[in-house]
Symmetry: C2
Amino acid sequence: MESIRVYAPATVANVACGFDIFGFAVNHPGDEVVLTKSSTPGIRINEITGDDGRLPKDVLKNTAGIAIMKYLEHIGQPDQGFELSLHKDMPLGSGLGSSAASAVAGVFAANELMGKPLSQKELLPFAMEGERVACGSAHADNVGPSLLGGFVIIRSYDPLDIIQIPTPSDLYASIVHPQIEVNTKDARRILEREITLHKTITQMGNVAGLVAGLLLPDYQLIGRSLVDVIIEPARAILIPQFDVVKAAALEAGALGCSISGSGPSLFALSKGKETATRVAAAMAAGFHQVGIGTEEYVSEINQQGPMIR
Amino acid sequence: MESIRVYAPATVANVACGFDIFGFAVNHPGDEVVLTKSSTPGIRINEITGDDGRLPKDVLKNTAGIAIMKYLEHIGQPDQGFELSLHKDMPLGSGLGSSAASAVAGVFAANELMGKPLSQKELLPFAMEGERVACGSAHADNVGPSLLGGFVIIRSYDPLDIIQIPTPSDLYASIVHPQIEVNTKDARRILEREITLHKTITQMGNVAGLVAGLLLPDYQLIGRSLVDVIIEPARAILIPQFDVVKAAALEAGALGCSISGSGPSLFALSKGKETATRVAAAMAAGFHQVGIGTEEYVSEINQQGPMIR
């Protein structure tokens, strides 16, 4: 095999209460990479579409490029040549794990073309290196679910311990991206560095409740647990209409609603596709009220991670 | 029915990572209450055994007395008379939920004698009032599992939201009580009031991992998640030999080991009764090294809460 086309899913990180430890993947949107082996050493990024010319073609500055490079070094083939095209099928800087999806698609494609020397889970550290380029630190809460699919717990970063848990079959995500931008680095900077013991306990209760709700399963418990007393209050300020949109989601029947990753996209979880569709429309309307355009997505929880197309 | 004998189980609260939100019940030790209806209004505590004369017979200062009183007020029968005897079959001030077990046994017995106007779960607020007498605040992480059995998550205190989750059938607790005392109020006072975001994230990861480990089930994940970076480091200082005893538990095959409630008892969780028995002996030996006497208990996770005897 000399060429491959891989699609990696967008992801919702944090999932309300689980800052840096929870994430899940959706079936769409996502990113597509076309990777082709080359006899000329080095990785060349020939084409990037869907980014309005904003992403760097310099391999050392591109999340997919870095991820593939680190992977090739690890498997002892640093001189393997690759031609890469990247097709963004999702908004940049949206809080939907855009950089993670590119890194995952790239490293997954490379591993396929190299004859799969590593398992899917073993690709994680290289995709995380791609994330480091994009947001300054190697987080796994987008890369983990994009690579593995499903709902993912990052129990520990050192050593890395990632657990994938099943989700109820009728659980749907509504995602609304308002056409404004929040820089991930800024969104991290405004967080408090010290949390009261009381808030920590509240957050832990919701973390425990969400995992239990997903596994039992218990949709109402999932809903009661989608509460974030630490991150959401700080970041909501950066998102116009946040309170209106969240209230609209709950009013339309969502189990819960919060910020996707560092925003500005919001996500909601609902039981059933019909409710999730209604919820997405209600959320979008909340932004439209003040003239902010949106993209909306409704999806089941993606269960497989990257797909060869 | 005019008289009833009820046994309520001891409990391990916090369970390493879950300060104030996790607890589980064991089959023994526990507390026994004998409650008898009386035509004379008011609650009289006639006998308390197993406490070396340390517990108050004044109803307003006794956890079982308060719990029953609050219960009778709630059901609109404040003048119902009761004679109560309390038999402590567990050490006081041990971190095993001694006051909670008394309150649970008392209120459960009263509800039975009154014809069960309330469900078992509805008794919780009254047992919590008993806890308030003992430790200054109305915690649910001992009362909850003692009343409901099993492994319990307190997702929220306001409103109270308690979730019972199943535990793997081969999960055993080893509990070792060193014959020293730690006052619960002191043990709370030494805790930091502010937690770094980094520690909060680590703790949340372990909370999520423990719930997932219990429900999947995955014994190794349970073990990896029995880590407490917030409370244990502060409280371990109050327990002589803590590091030695914990290391001995892990060496003997425990999945994990930490402080039960506010201590000084330590607990470990293991797969299988044989391992749990070996672990308890190893832990006890760690205290004996320095001349501290112990009581040891090995038990499955109790699944039913109070029992009529």
